[in-house]
Symmetry: C6
């Protein structure tokens, strides 16, 4: 079913955890690049303003830290960036896809593959901090149902995990982070 | 009548299956290219935001996979792209025209003709997946009324077909797909 | 009075049949070109979104079929296109001015004059089909009041004419079409 | 007071007759040109969409008939055009300022002065027709109060004048027109 | 307090009189220029559409009369123009800041200082007229409280001053004008 | 917790004091620059129009005073500017982040570090004045809870501090200013 983890074969596709009208869900963030004389950022997937801002933040962070991320600055002048979040019929919003978006974009720019069976949720800031987000319990249950084994969370969300009964956490490994670079280092394969 | 299949003589015109206010319907997606110094994507046909996003996704996928699709990358710098869905008086929305749009655009760029008596419905994603959509039963009945014989669906929609009484499916052949490339390989003639 | 046919002395002015808040009416579509370094399409006359889309469709069709229509492609890079539908105080919408708009634009680009005492109504598509429209009876009565003698309709609208009492049709000649090229061939003088 | 005719000393300033929330009024249309590398049309004065369209129509007509009007085509590439209708606190709309706008713009482009004590009202079309407008009686009374002596109207508005008691018309001369060129020939001094 | 006159040390800062939700007030119009390859006009201060139009009018008037104002035309191609009206929390609208805006902009372009203890209120037009505005009594009282000694008003507002008890006018000098040039000549020091 | 002061290690990150739906809060303003051929100002963080205007004011002030601030004017032609205020889920508005924004931007352009344990609140104007703001008591309490020791305020806000019981102010040092340059001189290290 559409709510199962779908593998990591495509660079640029990263699994996020969302909290929608129908409860916790996994969602995919897809990033794609195409050559262009006048590149722009295109955002699709029925995204609200706050979620669109996450993508703008992610792209700006990548531009400002390109060297450290191993990305040639020239790419930003030559390539269109398109970020899509299926499924188009479902409105999506909120800042919690920030880590997923920046991982997806970095994967698309570097062609590094995404670690298998990994999902993540967390707000990002322009200076690279990862902020805690809500709906952790519902998101964790959705991740488990989908076959996820590893989850990246903001360190400030550890307290939310500590409140969940251990039986629900069986088979899940949590990776707590404070900074975007920790996310990318863990999520993307060399 | 307007709801009969109208043949495949024009490259760029592909038959979709839609679920509108008045039930299942066939609709046509028309794509046209014209030379331009500053090309842009124009979308007409009283389309809602989600349906417009499908066209943006389709064009981006084609740009990112141009070589594989046999399209000269230079075309994107030299040609306006216009996607239209008649009939203008009827508002249309939703992601299910994704496969129809990408097939129409690919036909317009490659001049490959569209297979006869074929209709299709399915959401697309940026990485090329085909996602299942709703309203399958109504769409199938509309396709039959219109004289369609072959239908492309997402593999995840097979369960919806299995629930329809066989008598309604007589004379229809279903082609289940998971990936956009399967759609194009089947729908467009060499 | 304003509702009388006003002659065919200006290329670019074509008589349409509309169905407004006050019943059937004739309306004029005026197209004008002016030299420009950065040409654009301007639409005026208190037009709704669907009617604006008809003008976009018409211009795109002309660009894509310029050679067949005897129009130098270079014109699209050098001339502003302005389409106006008097009277500004009356909101106008719907797809039925499509044939009128494409005839008006083709007349403006080719300087071919419009056939006398001719009116028309019909939706157009990007591939050049003419689609049937509603309000036929009211439109025909308005055309007759205005002194029109020849009317272009979609072939699928013939059934609407067949339902009108012959006495109302006296003095009117109907020209049924399926394709935009038939409209232009009949409407514009060589 | 502000509702008195204010003379004709500035080219580009033309007196119109309007029908606002407070009854018949005279209003001024002011046009100004300024050198610019990327010229555009600016419209101010709290104008509604239909009134803005009148200014777009007026400018397009002038561009398409520049030679006949004695205007160097090159001007449109080098000069910003600004049309303003004082007073900013009063919302204004409708097509009846069309003749006033085209006269104002032509005066600004040609530097021809405007005939003294003249006011006008009428819709314009792209092909140069002048169309009748409403509120004639109220507009005429306002013109008289303001000291106007000559009024340009559409020929189709003569019937509205014929219905006004002669005593109200004393001291007013009416100039009926069908075409924009008649307006300009009468309104602008050589 | 913020409602005291704050001196004239900065070119580009001019004191206006406004009539806000809380009665008569003084407000400052600040104009600033900065070098730019693609100059534009930026308007801030929580301004309504009519007040934004005043700034557009003011800038256009300055462009059209640059030579007379002693401004090099080339400046308009090289400098961003920013007009701000503190305080950002208070919505402001209406045409009565016109004279203040044009004086502020002219001061910014010419670097001429503004006359001390001067305030002003009046609508402007494109041809340079100053129009009367409302709320005169409240504005005058606010000016007095703030320590203003000289006030520029439209000549047509003299009747509003004549209705105010002389005791309230003690220490205030009124300068009645009809034309923008009179405003600038008095307000800006050589 | 997220409401603790988070250090001064990043140039471009400055601590502000805000008054949100949930009372007094500290917030961070983050500014980031990235190379670009066509630089623009991007604003994120769920900001209302008045708060966006603060960022526009801040950037304009910096452009107009670049030399004094030790910033090479050429930077404005070569660098994108992005200002973000975490947390994206919380709508933010009002003019009181003006001083924080201009300090953040100046830090980003000059790479000067921000003084430790410092927070600030105040509206800015285009001529460089700092204006008083509301909610001072709540903001001060939030600053204390977060571990702030030094606070920049407008001199006109001193009266609000004088009304707070001294016990609440223990450990806080106030720095009253009238001009933006005083803010920058104190807040940014050489
Ligand atoms: Ca789902
Ligand atoms: Ca879906
Ligand atoms: Ca249909
Ligand atoms: Ca229709
Ligand atoms: Ca009519
Ligand atoms: Ca009318
Ligand atoms: Ca008036
Ligand atoms: Ca006024
Ligand atoms: Ca105040
Ligand atoms: Ca304030
Ligand atoms: Ca917080
Ligand atoms: Ca948050």
């Amino acid at each position: 079913s559409r709510d199962k983890y779908q593998g990591n074969e495509y660079p640029g596709v990263v699994t996020g955890l969302a909290w929608t009208q129908v409860g916790g869900e996994i969602l995919y963030v897809e990033s794609s690049l195409s050559k262009s004389k006048s590149p722009k950022l295109t955002l699709t997937g029925n995204l609200g303003d706050v979620m669109k801002e996450s993508a703008m933040l992610a792209l700006e962070y990548i531009k400002a830290h390109a060297e450290k991320l191993g990305i040639d600055n020239q790419m930003f002048d030559d390539w269109n960036v398109h970020v899509h979040v299926p499924e188009g019929a479902i409105p999506k919003d909120g800042p919690s896809a920030g880590v997923t978006m920046i991982t997806s974009l970095t994967s698309a720019f570097t062609k590094r593959k995404v670690r298998k069976n990994l999902a993540m949720t967390g707000e990002i800031t322009l200076r690279g901090k990862v902020l805690p987000v809500g709906g952790i319990k519902e998101k964790i249950l959705a991740a488990k149902r989908a076959g996820i084994t590893d989850i990246i969370l903001c360190a400030d969300n550890q307290k939310d995990i500590d409140e969940i009964k251990p039986v629900y956490l069986k088979g899940l490994k949590f990776h707590y982070v404070n900074d975007i670079m920790e996310v990318i280092d863990f999520a993307l394969l060399k």
